[in-house]
């Protein structure tokens, strides 16, 4: 329940356009054609989501103890 409310916090959704923009621009600096750019952007976005998600999970677990 606490996790669900934390996930639905409106501030968290501000990260979505940022992840999109950062991964697309980063992908575009590595490739020239649209298809590889999109593939690279997808991998970058996934990596960022997993990385930030794991930090979020750790902080959320810590907040349960404190």
């Amino acid at each position: 329940m606490l996790l669900a409310s934390a996930l639905l916090a409106p501030q968290l959704w501000y990260s979505v356009p940022l992840i999109l923009a950062v991964s697309l621009v980063y992908g575009a600096t590595r490739h020239e054609l649209p298809r590889p750019i999109l593939q690279h952007a997808w991998h970058t976005a996934l990596w960022m989501l997993i990385f930030m998600g794991s930090i979020f999970a750790v902080l959320w677990l810590v907040s349960l103890w404190v």
Binding site: L18, V22, L24, A28, R30, H31, E32, I37
Partner: protein
């Protein structure tokens, strides 16, 4: 006699599979094709393209006739910048460096180029004692006494009024500036195309070299 559960057996197989010896057919198969065909990109005049890319995100790529990337950079970078600016109601991009407020974020926002120039103009106008232009858009916050002789701290008012949107707007505009640095580099030097196996030659060649030695 040891007994394994079906899940354990599947996990064992899944882990073991990559360690299976390669068959002759697998070893003699041709190497995978590169991620994208080799392209010849005409960067025209790279310093000029980099300058244009800084002045307006995507402009350097238009100059180089790389239109798809120009649109991508323009949409992503300017979209991020103007969304951040809108979140902060036009107050999150300003140039100020005094004892009270050292706006270290502005040099990062400056990466977006021309869209941040009103902040530079406003800073110069306010420093000379003039009234901010354009209805105070991108003007640095001031601290003054009003008609009732009360201190007015604009920066504190902005933080109070905008709350988290001030920080979010600042973050968005900063990231837009940093992203444009990547775009400028791309306009100057072209993309860093990553092709698998480009750094190393095929294993057969290495074996031949070793035998020759």
């Amino acid at each position: 006699m040891a007994r394994f559960s079906p899940v354990g057996t599947m996990l064992y197989l899944a882990i073991r599979q990559p360690c299976l010896p390669l068959t002759t057919a697998a070893m003699s198969s041709p190497p995978p094709p590169p991620a994208e065909p080799l392209l010849k990109i005409d960067l025209r005049n790279p310093p000029l393209a980099a300058l244009l890319a800084w002045v307006w995100p995507g402009a350097g790529h238009i100059y180089q006739r790389r239109y798809a990337k120009a649109i991508l950079y323009m949409v992503c970078i300017l979209g991020t910048y103007f969304f951040g600016l809108a979140l902060g109601e036009g107050k999150v991009v300003y140039a100020s460096w005094n004892e009270v407020d050292k706006r270290w974020q502005f040099p990062l926002q400056l990466g977006v180029g021309l869209p941040t120039m009103p902040a530079v103009v406003q800073s110069m106008v306010v420093r000379r004692g003039g009234e901010p232009l354009f209805g105070g858009l991108m003007a640095p916050p001031r601290r003054y006494r009003d008609k009732q002789d009360k201190w007015v701290d604009e920066l504190a008012d902005w933080h109070k009024g905008l709350n988290i949107r001030f920080e979010l707007g600042t973050l968005y505009t900063m990231i837009a500036g940093l992203l444009n640095v990547l775009a400028i580099w791309d306009a100057y030097g072209g993309p860093v195309i990553t092709e698998p196996g480009k750094e190393r030659g095929p294993p057969e060649d290495k074996e031949k070299d070793d035998k020759a030695k």
